[in-house]
């Protein structure tokens, strides 16, 4: 025990840090459909074993003999996606590359990506099980620039974008838009908020003019947006964590509650006194929806954060990427409101609007919400997926 203690004590004064840790280099030349993957021979020895004659050195012959093992080891732990499609990586030739700390096996690969792609995603898993401190240095080399990203066990996915940082930014925004477009539970909740607003009445008992409805919609949707932005950021950064089953169930519950509220009381109460030309902050009746919009918005934010795990957030600034994603979500929301609201305003005058669209539609949405709620809270699948 003594030697251990002393050794440990001495280690504290270990001044030496002019050393090189374990890195691999993945350099991608998209125009030439060519990749060079450099893996340190020392690391390969640990991963697949190269020194067949046991002389504590790896010769060129030993390296060549291990070529297929090296190739299958590396390619099994790499995945390159081009615009969402898998690239078929193939080893063309094995050579040697010298770096500052020794020689590396240089795997010259054909990327096999579909032509014309501009965005790639690299999933990297080499060597982490034998050395968690290993890093992959991934570079994208195009005519105008070289981008570099560092892959680690904590961040094994990276986004490579030929269009440069502006392109990468657009990517996160579009991911945000996409995720709200496919987020049916979020959309239904939003719709449940919109429907009663179209039935707001002015002081004279008539339907509120379109401008008034727009103002009310802006207020309520802003409350929802602010709320889900408030929780999306800390959840994405890992400061606030809620179990996803709980979050998804609560989101489903929000749809049920909002929909049932519309079935029960489809329109906000008429104004009590003469609200002449209701101005900002909008019609009183809309205020009744602001609080639930905000409250449930907080939960929906956690829901968005859940999908962020799939994205390569850590290439670049995490904060910026989350912000851009959120901006995408807002844009998507805005687009939907701009699409749906005029349609609703156009038909709200019809006599069947309230019973059919608002009540009936809300009832249908309540059923959807209940379906989701059952599936998510009980973790079952009510309808077997083919």
């Amino acid at each position: 025990m003594r030697p251990l203690l002393l050794m440990l004590f001495l280690l504290s004064s270990l001044a030496a840090h002019a050393h090189k840790a374990s890195d691999s280099y993945f350099t991608f030349y998209p125009q030439r459909q060519h990749i060079q993957l450099d893996i340190a021979v020392r690391d390969l020895e640990l991963a697949v074993g190269l020194d067949s004659n046991g002389d504590d050195a790896v010769s060129w012959g030993e390296l060549r003999q291990a070529q297929s093992r090296i190739s299958s080891y590396a390619l099994a732990r790499l995945e390159l996606l081009a615009d969402g499609q898998s690239c078929h990586l193939q080893l063309r030739q094995l050579q040697v590359q010298t770096h500052g700390d020794g020689n590396y096996a240089a795997l010259l690969l054909d990327s096999g990506c579909p032509a014309g792609a501009t965005r790639w995603q690299l999933h990297y898993r080499l060597l982490f099980d034998t050395d968690p401190l290993h890093r992959g240095i991934a570079s994208l080399v195009t005519a105008d620039a070289t981008q570099t990203h560092v892959l680690s066990q904590q961040q094994p996915v990276v986004q490579l974008d030929a269009s440069g940082p502006a392109g990468a930014a657009v990517n996160f925004v579009s991911e945000g838009v996409w995720h709200i477009l496919i987020g049916y539970d979020h959309l239904l909740f939003l719709l449940c908020l919109l429907l009663p607003l179209t039935l707001l009445r002015a002081s004279d008992g008539r339907l509120l003019p379109a401008a008034g409805v727009w103002r009310a919609v802006v207020l309520v949707v802003t409350a929802f947006t602010v709320a889900h932005s408030l929780t999306l950021l800390p959840a994405a950064l890992g400061w606030l964590v809620l179990p996803s089953r709980l979050v998804e169930s609560l989101i489903a519950l929000s749809v049920v509650v909002a929909a049932l509220a519309n079935v029960w009381r489809p329109q906000p109460p008429a104004p009590q006194r003469r609200d002449v030309a209701p101005r900002w902050p909008a019609h009183r009746g809309s205020l009744r929806l602001v609080v639930p919009a905000f409250a449930f918005g907080l939960i929906h934010g956690f829901g968005f954060a859940g999908v962020l795990g799939e994205l390569p957030l850590h290439s670049g600034s995490l904060l910026l990427n989350v912000f851009l994603f959120n901006a995408g979500v807002e844009l998507g929301q805005l687009g939907l409101v701009l699409l749906v609201l005029p349609l609703l305003l156009a038909v709200r005058g019809y006599v069947l609007y309230r019973p059919l669209l608002v009540r009936g539609g809300s009832a249908a949405m309540a059923v959807c919400g209940l379906w989701w709620l059952t599936e998510r809270s009980l973790d079952v699948q009510l309808w077997p997926q083919v």
């Binding site: 003594r2 030697p3 251990l4 203690l5 002393l6 050794m7 440990l8 004590f9 001495l10 280690l11 504290s12 004064s13 270990l14 001044a15 030496a16 840090h17 002019a18 050393h19 090189k20 840790a21 890195d23 060079q36 340190a40 021979v41 020392r42 020895e45 020194d51 504590d56 050195a57 790896v58 010769s59 060129w60 012959g61 060549r64 050579q95 040697v96 590359q97 010298t98 770096h99 500052g100 700390d101 020794g102 020689n103 010259l108 099980d129 034998t130 050395d131 968690p132 401190l133 290993h134 890093r135 570079s139 620039a145 070289t146 570099t148 560092v150 670049g316 600034s317 995490l318 910026l320």
Partner: protein, 397 residues
């Protein structure tokens, strides 16, 4: 966020420079018999090899057995200590993966994690692990020692003192005394500490292992040098030179002393005798430069590559070496000052203090030395070289 942007910019700059520094491209050896890479096992003694093989076999049989993990991890750590090669640490870390994210972790695993975190300069994380251990076992020797040493490295001798005191009440009286002496030597009671260390030296050395002797010699030499007792310091360093057992830390300290004495060839001999030691390259480069050897350019380039690679992968903890490199080899005092200040945020041993003040002096920014002056007054550190450096800086301002 700024760090990320800076990192990306720097990475771009590094990559732009890389083609100039790295070899031109992939190449093919001429013959199958050409050696592509010598493996680090080459430098292991046969006993170590056997030990490692046995421990690895035992571990593979039961990867979740705490004692087997500890046994193998300690061997890896010994190799890391000998060579300053972080791949050994990575391998040790891989052994601890089964306990990643678990709530109940055995104390020995926690201490290993703390050790690895400390080496990676994640001092806060290391202290957290140690506190968890000490909460359950307040007299855990290893944890107390490691905690004391982290506090000392970060320039908090008072915090170290309580850990040393706790050690003394535990069974390791000698260790506790030595720990205390080291603490005292860094907080104003240098002469008394030196006396005590020499008294410890008088104890029958038969029971001491060579690494214990090396440690005692190391802290005595450092303290004597700071108190301007160069004869005693020289004696201890010679003793270290003669010792069969050395670690990268000992060799680094020895090389630094040899450089100060102007014994450049001795530095090169030291490095040649320990080819597995990756940390000596900086001292070798200094020696080669002083001797105006042509190999100096190659060493310098190799060091630049290493530092650039470390920055690229986001490793912290190289600031001290980078500052020394910039100051003594590249002769770029402004860059050296930047790195020295970065280093000062992480660790505050006497040599870090001297480095910062010297860089401030040579960069013509005397105000940058103020934090060191305040720290020295607060801790009571006795260091003749540091004091004279501070006086020179003050004279200039």
């Amino acid at each position: 966020m700024l760090k990320c942007i800076a990192g990306v910019v720097l990475a771009g700059a590094v990559l732009a420079a890389l083609p100039a520094t790295a070899a031109s491209g992939p190449w093919q050896p001429r013959s199958d018999r050409d050696i592509v890479q010598v493996l680090p096992q080459r430098w292991l003694s046969s006993t170590t090899r056997r030990e490692l093989a046995a421990a690895q076999a035992a571990w593979r049989a039961e990867p979740h057995a705490v004692e087997r993990v500890q046994a193998l991890a300690v061997l890896y750590l010994q190799q890391a200590q000998d060579s300053a090669d972080p791949r050994w640490l990575g391998q040790a870390l891989a052994l601890l993966q089964p306990w990643h994210g678990q709530a109940r972790v055995p104390a020995s695993i926690r201490v290993l994690r703390a050790r690895l975190a400390q080496h990676d300069h994640q001092f806060a994380q290391a202290l957290q692990e140690l506190q968890a251990v000490l909460k359950a076992e307040p007299r855990h020797e290893e944890a107390l020692l490691l905690q004391a040493s982290i506090h000392l490295v970060q320039g908090r001798p008072d915090a170290a003192r309580s850990s040393c005191a706790a050690l003394q009440t535990a069974q390791s009286l000698v260790l506790g005394l030595a720990c205390m002496a080291q603490h005292d030597g860094l907080s104003g009671k240098g002469e008394a500490a030196l006396q005590r260390l020499q008294q410890l030296r008088q104890l029958p050395q038969a029971g001491w292992t060579s690494d214990q002797q090396a440690w005692l010699a190391l802290i005595t030499a450092d303290l004597a040098q700071r108190l301007r007792q160069s004869a005693l310091a020289g004696q201890e360093w010679r003793r270290l030179q003669a010792l069969a057992w050395q670690s990268a830390a000992v060799r680094a300290g020895l090389a630094d002393w040899l450089l100060e004495q102007g014994e450049y060839r001795a530095v090169l001999r030291l490095a040649a005798a320990a080819p597995q030691d990756q940390a000596l390259l900086l001292r070798v480069a200094q020696a080669q430069q002083a001797l105006r050897l042509p190999q100096a350019a190659g060493s310098i380039r190799q060091l630049q590559d290493r530092f650039a690679a470390a920055r690229l992968r986001g490793d912290s903890g190289h600031a001290r070496e980078e500052a020394r490199f910039a100051l003594h080899v590249l002769h770029q005092p402004t860059l050296a000052l930047l790195r020295a200040q970065e280093n000062w945020q992480q660790q505050r041993e006497p040599q870090d203090a001297r480095l910062l003040v010297q860089a401030a002096f040579e960069a013509g920014q005397p105000a940058a030395a103020d934090p060191v002056r305040q720290w020295q007054q607060a801790t009571g550190l006795q260091d003749a070289a540091l004091t004279s450096l501070l006086q020179r800086v003050e004279a200039r301002s």
